[in-house]
């Protein structure tokens, strides 16, 4: 794959009929990412359904149940690229009962596209989608005001919706430059891959141009190095007789040969002897690298432990407080026990207290004795062993966790540590 192409990961959110699948289908079509056999299949299916236009939503709504109901019920991943950029789109369903899917899709994305139907304006769903974008601290949010063709491409409509949305922005942690408003017609391709001639009053970029100019710098996370040990490598061969390497993915910061490091939980210190990536030996690795490091002293370090630079050690605690989103129909109750997976580390966790259930429309919170599917709340946990974490605000990877229930081992919650 081309190393000079940047990778931008996008989550899309919108209500059932906002035309989200159509928008994605349009992006694929206009970037020539749909091959002729796929376009032919769309033509065939559109005709069968008696449409006189190409229904691009057919390109993305993958499952039989979805085609039957004409709605999207699970996160689908869609890929396309331009000369300069690789894109991954997590297409997340807009149903009220499927809020968990947006959290899931957003967790692997940097940019959120929130769709609004120009005829309907800001509705309750919009609040929720923006709330989740804020909770997950997306780098950028694009508010795509769709179906402009159905309101005569009227600037007044666009400005009114923008004004309503700006009131939400004021309640969030976002700064204004993280939010971009674009009037579009996905059906007709207006302001998707090309600037619309129907809306000369709009002076910004088309959606695709906007996504392309987002700089990878904006998309990176914390500058503090966190290296959770995934796997210990001991070749036991002639050539690498004494080799004992610690493998993992580097989150944030960088690691250099010679760096003074602290090992958690032992709090032992050592320094980096070598950094390996396959048969290459490196002086330095940057964030996101899946590498193997060796240390200058014999130390006890295994899967689930963490290696950090000695000048920036994370918190290590047995009591944590987090914002929880319930992603399974099994509810979360006080006293319940779970397996808490923080990165690659697992400990046992007990729910100490549910402090509140948070309203996802920015209207505050209420008391609750349990969290149900799609609920978001503040929860305190007690752990069997300390975990080594940062707040989600400081470091997304080291500030998030999942809860696994012990019956079917389902993933039931995702947590964002305070």
């Amino acid at each position: 794959m081309s190393e000079n192409r940047k990778l931008i990961k996008i989550a899309t959110a919108g209500s059932v009929d906002d035309g989200k699948s159509t928008l994605i289908g349009r992006l694929l079509f206009d970037t020539k990412s749909l091959t002729t056999d796929k376009i032919e299949a769309i033509e065939r299916s559109s005709k069968q359904r008696g449409y006189d236009y190409l229904d691009f939503s057919l390109a993305t709504d993958g499952l039989v149940a979805e085609r039957e109901q004409g709605i999207t019920i699970d996160v689908a991943h869609i890929y396309f690229n331009t000369e300069k950029t690789n894109f991954i789109v997590a297409d997340t369903p807009g149903h009220v009962e499927y809020t968990r899917n947006m959290v899931t899709g957003a967790s692997t994305s940097q940019v959120a596209i929130i769709l609004i139907d120009a005829r309907k304006g800001v509705i309750e769903q919009t609040y929720r989608h923006f709330f989740i974008s804020n909770l997950l601290r997306m780098s950028h949010v694009v508010v795509a005001i769709n179906k402009m063709d159905l309101v005569n491409y009227d600037e007044e409509v666009f400005l009114n919706i923008k004004k309503d949305f700006d009131e939400l922005v004021a309640k969030s942690d976002f700064s204004e430059d993280q939010i971009t408003f674009i009037p579009v017609s996905a059906l007709n391709g207006e302001n998707i891959a090309r600037k619309s001639e129907e809306m000369p009053w709009y002076i910004g970029n088309s959606l695709l141009d906007h996504l392309e100019v987002l700089e990878p710098e904006d998309l990176q996370e914390s500058s503090v190095a966190r290296f959770p040990v995934q796997y210990v490598i001991r070749p036991k061969t002639e050539a690498f007789h004494d080799f004992r390497g610690f493998s993992g993915k580097l989150y944030g910061g960088s690691l250099k040969v010679g760096d003074e490091v602290t090992l958690l939980p032992s709090m032992n210190t050592s320094s980096i002897k070598s950094i390996h990536f396959f048969d290459r030996e490196l002086d330095e690795a940057t964030p996101g690298s899946s590498i193997t490091v060796t240390l200058n002293s014999e130390v006890d370090l295994s899967r689930g432990d963490m290696l950090v630079k000695s000048d920036a050690v994370p918190r290590s605690e047995k009591q944590i407080s987090a914002t929880i989103c319930q992603v399974n129909s099994k509810g979360l109750r006080v006293g319940a026990k779970y397996i808490l997976q923080h990165g690659v580390n697992r400990v046992l966790a007990k729910v100490d207290q549910i402090e509140s259930k948070i309203h996802t429309d920015f209207s505050g919170s209420e008391e609750a004795d349990q969290l149900k599917l799609n609920d978001i709340g503040k929860v305190k946990f007690r752990l069997s062993k300390p975990i080594h974490f940062d707040s989600y605000r400081e470091n997304k990877s080291n500030g998030s966790f999942i809860l696994i229930e012990e019956g079917e081992f389902d993933t039931v919650s995702v947590g964002f540590i305070d």
């Binding site: 299949a41 149940a65 490196l282 996101g288 899946s290």
Partner: protein
């Protein structure tokens, strides 16, 4: 000069996933077909564990109708890298009366593989099968998880999948269940080809243009061979072709091509207006063909 690693994000993610498989499961296996995706997986696994060897075996479910070039390539690769290879044959499943050979114009052993695979999983008690499936291949695959839990019957329950948040992978299962793991879920066909080119990975010769005896049916180019059902009026001709995807001979169509180098192939894929699954005869059976096969345990 400072020797600095700037990661290729998709490669780094795949290595992360492969290491999670090795760490979370007791008996993982890599499903190896001899195709470009599974060859890419082998390279990624090498990178994940270097300088140690890949800590799991390869499993090839051989339909008996594979291209001989693929089998040759497989044996050479296994030999060079010192890997453990397990082969299980669809022919054995047929001989044991577990599956019945399809007959007629579109007969193929492709869907029979499922039984042989599930038997091998049971025989070796594999709890994780690493596969080269990609989400961009097909609509139903677009919703597949990186860790996809299958029940005792190998079935996929698409409405009851575990959500996957950030890069945390939950591979906890009960005895009897197993997990299909897809490290290159987020790669596109072009990503794979560009990677093979950048890494200079060797691939079977049938991926490059060569002269072959073929016949035409339904606008596709079929291999003329004893294993492929052909009607008398379907005339055998010799064409310069290559394969974009390599499966069983009975379900893999060739494309006309002059591409003799990796450079040519990458160029051709970039310009291509037909998806690789467009050359998969098995997917054309119906709009929901892939989803139906997956539900019963197909890879």
């Amino acid at each position: 000069m400072n020797n600095l690693l700037i990661p290729n994000p998709k490669e780094a993610e795949s290595i992360h996933i492969i290491r999670e498989v090795a760490a979370q499961f007791e008996r993982p296996v890599l499903l190896f077909s001899g195709g470009k995706d599974s060859i890419t997986l082998v390279r990624l696994a090498q990178k994940a564990f270097y300088p140690a060897k890949i800590p799991f075996p390869l499993l090839h479910v051989d339909t008996g109708h594979n291209f001989p070039e693929t089998i040759e390539f497989r044996d050479k690769l296994v030999d060079e890298l010192g890997l453990e290879l397990i082969v299980r044959n669809v022919q054995d499943s047929i001989d044991q009366g577990k599956v019945r050979e399809e007959r007629g114009r579109y007969s193929s052993r492709n869907s029979l593989q499922t039984t042989t695979l599930l038997d091998a999983i049971e025989e070796f008690k594999f709890d994780a099968c690493i596969g080269g499936a990609r989400r961009d291949e097909e609509k139903a695959r677009a919703k597949e998880r990186v860790f996809s839990v299958r029940d005792d019957f190998g079935q996929w329950d698409e409405k009851n999948q575990r959500p996957e948040l950030f890069d945390m992978l939950n591979g906890k299962i009960h005895v009897g269940q197993n997990v299909r793991c897809f490290p290159i879920s987020n790669w596109t066909e072009l990503d794979v080809w560009e990677y093979i080119k950048t890494e200079n990975i060797e691939i079977p010769s049938i991926y490059f243009a060569h002269e072959r005896e073929v016949f035409l049916r339904d606008g596709m180019i079929w291999t003329a061979n004893e294993h492929v059902y052909r009607e008398e009026h379907e005339e055998v001709i010799v064409k310069m072709v290559r394969f974009r995807t390599v499966g069983d001979m009975t379900c893999t169509a060739a494309v006309l091509s002059e591409a003799v180098s990796l450079e040519d192939v990458v160029g051709e894929i970039r310009e291509s207006t037909i998806s690789e699954r467009g050359a998969r005869i098995d997917d054309k059976r119906s709009e929901a063909a892939m989803e139906t096969r997956k539900k019963v345990g197909y890879f």
